[in-house]
């Protein structure tokens, strides 16, 4: 397969997944409001100490994105249901292209969730300092991409299992700890006008590792979902 044909397939899967999401609207109508509610309720559990809330705001944002976003990616990153899957297989879809397409679509959905939640966190928690928007955007892109790749990888592993809704997060969230650390600490640094380069590099390295592992293992994983 030529590289252009490969990327064409990635684009097809990516467009298909986003179209399904736009028509269903689960992420926008259900997952995002639920995540926003979690941001709103957290101060009731920790206490409404303003200084404490200022400190934990960035961390809370990314914790909520990871916990709620993982449910989004595990759903959207999963292999397609039976007939669609068979059709894609018969069309000669490269498993690696399918994996990358699903991951990119999940990342775009998560980026949407983050776009809604970030201003909300700034309003509710009022973190100190002026946000460095450039760093925040880079961290958000790298963070959601890592979560999208991770979610698609784990979603394929739990495809077809009765226990997938409980098992998926149990497998994905421990692996997402470096993303939580890098995005939360990086956002903290960006808001306090310090550079976030080291955290961004960690996220880039994690993305690269996940792409390599996902592309190499897409074939074996794909054969178990047929």
């Amino acid at each position: 397969m030529t590289p252009s044909a490969f990327w064409q397939q990635v684009r097809w899967v990516f467009t298909k997944d986003l179209r399904v999401e736009v028509r269903g609207g689960v992420t926008l109508r259900m997952a995002t409001p639920f995540a926003a509610l979690a941001l709103l309720l957290a101060p009731l559990a920790t206490g409404t100490d303003t200084a404490l809330l200022r400190r934990i705001g960035p961390g809370m944002l990314w914790l909520v994105v990871i916990l709620f976003g993982m449910t989004v990616t595990l759903r959207s990153g999963a292999r397609e249901p039976g007939p669609v899957r068979d059709l894609l297989t018969l069309s000669g879809l490269d498993p690696a292209a399918g994996f990358l397409g699903r991951s990119l679509a999940s990342a775009v959905l998560l980026f949407g969730v983050t776009l809604v939640l970030t201003p909300l966190m700034i309003v509710l928690y009022a973190p100190e300092g002026r946000p460095g928007w450039g760093w925040l955007a880079l961290l958000a892109v790298a963070g959601v991409m890592a979560l999208g790749l991770l979610g698609s990888l784990v979603a394929t592993l739990v495809t077809g299992l009765r226990e997938r809704t409980a098992l998926g997060p149990l497998l994905a969230i421990p692996l997402a700890v470096p993303v939580l650390l890098a995005t939360a600490r990086g956002t903290d640094s960006a808001i306090s006008q310090q550079g976030s380069l080291s955290w961004l590099l960690l996220l880039v390295a994690m993305n690269l590792a996940l792409v390599i592992v996902g592309v190499l293992l897409a074939g074996p994983m794909d054969e178990t979902t047929r």
């Binding site: 990888l153 592993l157 739990v158 098992l167 149990l170 421990p174 692996l175 074996p220 994983m221 178990t224």
Partner: protein, 265 residues
């Protein structure tokens, strides 16, 4: 019952089929490993008990003769799980899958021992059971929960081929956490002491010679226990597979084994 009928149904154990005999959970190699593990454990316990008191930690330091070897053994077990998972994906050998699963299962046990002994040691020396500032403690707990997920995934899939492939992938992806656990004490500001044996600069151990010998003996004992448990677990997994095969073909397990000879029915 006629003698002819009895001879066809009441067979002695030595006439069991080859498959049943190889699945018998006792074999000389496994027993020898178990005996060696017991001897090494006794030696390790004796040496740990007779080691000199540590200057600042006192008796609590003896916990390290369990904590450190269990951590290293967990790394070895999870590493063996990784290697055999890769081996499975290359060769599709069912034996590699069984060894990978057994090694990871035993690795989870040793990770739990590491966490538990670390917490007890922390209570004596730091005054707290759990310290969030200790990067290694937190990363070990994350590792433990991830591998619990691995075991849950394994139990959730009934098809052996699908289970083997998916668990091999997860075993490979998850191992990335092991170097994170080990190097967390260098990468983050943490309460936990830095590595004193497996040092990144490959320099000599910073541990006093009086403690190195008992620690070495305990480590040898833990590795022997690991080998024994993995061997027993692999044998058990083979028996489980035989039960599954028998169930799928509706053939009763142990059908080839009859009542003892001389028993009239």
């Amino acid at each position: 019952m006629s003698p002819a009928t009895r001879s066809s149904t009441c067979r002695r154990p030595d006439t069991m089929t080859r498959e049943t005999a190889t699945l018998h959970p006792r074999s000389r190699a496994i027993t020898s490993t178990g005996v060696a593990a017991l001897c090494l454990m006794a030696t390790g316990l004796y040496m740990a008990a007779t080691a000199p008191d540590e200057e600042t930690q006192g008796e609590a330091a003896r916990l390290l003769f369990v904590h450190v070897p269990s951590a290293i053994t967990a790394y070895i077990a999870l590493g063996a799980g990784l290697v055999t998972a890769v081996w499975y994906l290359i060769r599709r050998s069912p034996a590699a899958d069984l060894v990978s699963a057994a090694a990871i299962e035993v690795g989870v046990l040793f990770t739990a021992i590491t966490l538990l002994t670390g917490m007890i040691w922390g209570r004596f020396v730091w005054g707290v059971w759990w310290d969030w500032g200790d990067a290694r403690m937190v990363s070990t707990a994350v590792l433990f929960f991830f591998y619990l997920g691995y075991l849950a995934l394994r139990r959730s899939i009934s098809d052996p081929r699908v289970r083997a492939v998916r668990c091999a992938v997860l075993g490979i992806v998850g191992f990335v956490q092991v170097p994170i656990v080990h190097y967390s004490v260098l990468w983050f500001r943490t309460l936990h002491q830095g590595p004193s044996i497996i040092r990144p600069d490959l320099a000599n151990s910073t541990m006093d010679a009086a403690f190195v010998a008992p620690l070495g003996a305990a480590l040898a004992a833990f590795i022997a226990i690991l080998a024994y448990l993995v061997a027993v677990r692999v044998r058990l997994a083979r028996l489980e597979a035989a039960v599954d095969r028998a169930a799928s073909t509706s053939q009763p397990v142990g059908a080839s084994v009859g009542p003892p000879s001389g028993l009239s029915v």
